[in-house]
């Protein structure tokens, strides 16, 4: 990452000041409220929701500030002896994946320009897939592993095979990830530099953007995460493993007992254990792998559900382990893990932010309103500067404004899945592991869209009622009408995103 220009640093500083100032004003407004228990309760929920947004904006800005000093290619590397390359096992765990998807991955793995590698296909598929899958693996000289007992998760099948791994390093690729030839030669040299580095994570770049707006929006969301957020985490030595496109020391994974099978985000949970042992991790922000985004709305929601359930579940365990003195992370790592794990409460945050203007317009709750000059004088700078900062970072990486909004909209629309999963996780209830269906499970029926349609209807009702009473308080009612309009327009995107994607031609590769 190149050094930041002064104007960008000024923007960061102003965003930070605007954020802190707005938060201080919001606290003041809350504590100055003496209008009864109902008003106080709703105000508290609103404060918590806004605090969530402020916290994560703060995390984003602080991460950018920390990165300002870093130059390009600041990772140290060891020089590899081509006659004595460290051994690497490449594992591809998969379950009931289409053959054509697997074949593309196998071709990419065979084409890696690293000689001392062993390729293994960990097949967790149902029995009817076994013959075709084993023949495909054989076609490309890839070892085939079919467990005796059906695995319940990706973590389980990897752990079942792990005792057989004798190589110095291991790498995992999801079934739809296609690495470039230099993936291993780039990553092995990073790990060879120091035994204290447990693993190196590289980004996922989705390339099936043109299939559907869902795939494009999901790709944008991933880009925001991998382009900026992960770099900051890597700089703190707190980059967590993302489950695919990484290289790890085999001895470290075995030391922590393999991947954590008690979490649907086994990678995230295992990373906490690894960092707690004193190891560091690297984020290598160069695309070396292409993958596939979920192409349908149901597939996208399933993916978000899993990530939310896993991350919030780890938050609960981090909290309990901290109390029992089992967690040995430094301050920066604790901060980064806290941010990552709490992010998925954004579903609740968005719901509350939607409900508050509706409650005011329909039921006049809360019955008071903050001084307009105080509120707008702090909110507009905070919101504008934060959005500008966000857009400026993405523009540096050639994303357009519409792309940035696309990612934000996608994130907002997943709120029902995030609410359901995060609630289950915080109470320690386990969610079932569901494979992200890259080939599409169609779309949700109209009745299943009720979390969005009900909210759209409530917003419309609130806007209508607000317009009738606008003359009672132009400022308070007008502001809330604007918010309801914004939310209604945002939510209405669900109908476009829920459409079936264009059918793809299956690519059957005949290699003889």
């Amino acid at each position: 990452m190149k050094k930041r220009k002064p104007i960008f640093l000024l923007l960061l500083f102003l965003s930070f000041v605007g954020l802190v100032f707005y938060f201080a004003v919001r606290l003041y407004i809350f504590f100055a409220n003496h209008h009864g228990i109902l008003n106080i309760t709703i105000s508290l929920f609103l404060l918590l929701s806004e605090s969530h947004s402020i916290l994560h904006s703060l995390g984003f800005i602080l991460g950018l500030i920390r990165l300002r000093k870093k130059g390009v290619n600041y990772h140290r590397r060891a020089k590899l002896d081509l006659n004595n390359l460290p051994s690497v096992s490449i594992l591809v765990p998969a379950r009931n994946e289409p053959l054509e998807v697997l074949e593309l991955t196998f071709i990419s793995l065979v084409s890696l320009d690293y000689q001392n590698k062993k390729l293994v296909f960990l097949d967790g598929s149902d029995h009817e897939y076994k013959k075709a899958n084993s023949e495909l693996a054989k076609k490309y000289n890839i070892d085939y592993f079919y467990p005796l007992t059906p695995p319940r998760s990706k973590a389980e099948i990897i752990n079942q095979y792990l005792p057989q791994v004798t190589s110095k390093y291991l790498s995992v690729f999801d079934a739809d990830q296609n690495p470039l030839p230099e993936f291993l030669s780039d990553t092995v040299s990073l790990l060879e530099h120091s035994k204290k580095i447990a693993f190196v994570q590289t980004p996922q770049l989705y390339s099936n953007l043109h299939v559907s707006p869902i795939a494009r929006g999901a790709a944008l969301q991933q880009s925001i995460f991998y382009e900026n957020v992960c770099e900051a985490k890597g700089e703190s030595g707190a980059m967590f493993c993302c489950g695919t496109n990484f290289l790890m020391q085999t001895v470290v994974l075995k030391k922590v007992g393999g991947f954590d099978e008690n979490s649907v985000t086994e990678d995230f949970a295992t990373s906490v254990k690894i960092h707690s042992l004193g190891y560091r991790s690297i984020y290598y922000n160069h695309v070396r792998v292409f993958g596939m985004a979920p192409e349908t709305f149901p597939a996208y929601l399933k993916q978000q559900f899993r990530w939310s359930a896993g991350s919030v579940g780890v938050l609960r365990r981090i909290f309990l382990d901290s109390i029992h003195g089992k967690l040995h992370l430094n301050i920066a790592q604790k901060w980064e893990y806290f941010l990552s794990a709490t992010y998925y409460f954004v579903g609740w945050s968005f719901l509350v932010l939607m409900l508050c203007p509706i409650l005011f317009l329909l039921f006049k709750i809360p019955s008071y309103f903050a001084n307009p000059y105080l509120y707008l004088g702090t909110f507009i700078p905070y919101y504008t500067l934060t959005l500008l900062t966000f857009y400026a970072t993405m523009k540096k990486r050639h994303y357009q404004l519409k792309d940035v909004f696309s990612g934000i909209i996608m994130g907002s629309l997943s709120y029902p899945a995030l609410i359901q999963s995060s609630t289950a996780a915080i109470f320690g209830r386990k969610s079932t592991f569901v494979v992200t269906d890259k080939r599409g499970t169609g779309n949700l029926s109209f009745w299943k869209l009720w979390p969005w349609t009900v909210m759209i209807a409530l917003n419309i009702a609130a806007i209508t009622n607000g317009l009738f009473h606008l003359s009672e308080n132009y400022y308070a009612i007008g502001i809330n009408i604007l918010w309801c309009t914004y939310h209604a327009l945002l939510l209405s995107r669900v109908f476009k995103l829920n459409r079936r994607p264009q059918a793809e031609k299956n690519q059957v590769l005949n290699y003889t």
Partner: protein
């Protein structure tokens, strides 16, 4: 990495891997690059040139793949 004995099977495997790369992997990489190039920040006319170059690469790769098939068959025939 222990020194590998160069056997006919080893050579054939390497030729096969080269064929896979030329015939199958290059089109995969080219497809991914074409799909994601709009995020590179490169101007559209330069993107078109790159895509044209990728097409040439794909075409050349097919020729290399055919040549490698000939090499494979000849090696198999003469190594017996």
């Amino acid at each position: 990495m222990p020194k590998t004995k160069i056997t006919p099977e080893f050579v054939l495997q390497r030729i096969n891997e080269a064929r896979i790369k030329e015939e199958l992997a290059i089109p995969i990489y080219a497809s991914h690059i074409k799909q994601t190039m709009f995020w590179s920040g490169i101007s559209e006319d330069k993107q078109e040139k790159i895509i044209a170059s990728l097409k040439v690469l794909e075409s050349d790769s097919m020729k290399h793949s055919k040549m490698l098939k000939v090499v494979y068959n000849n090696f198999l025939k003469y190594s017996k």
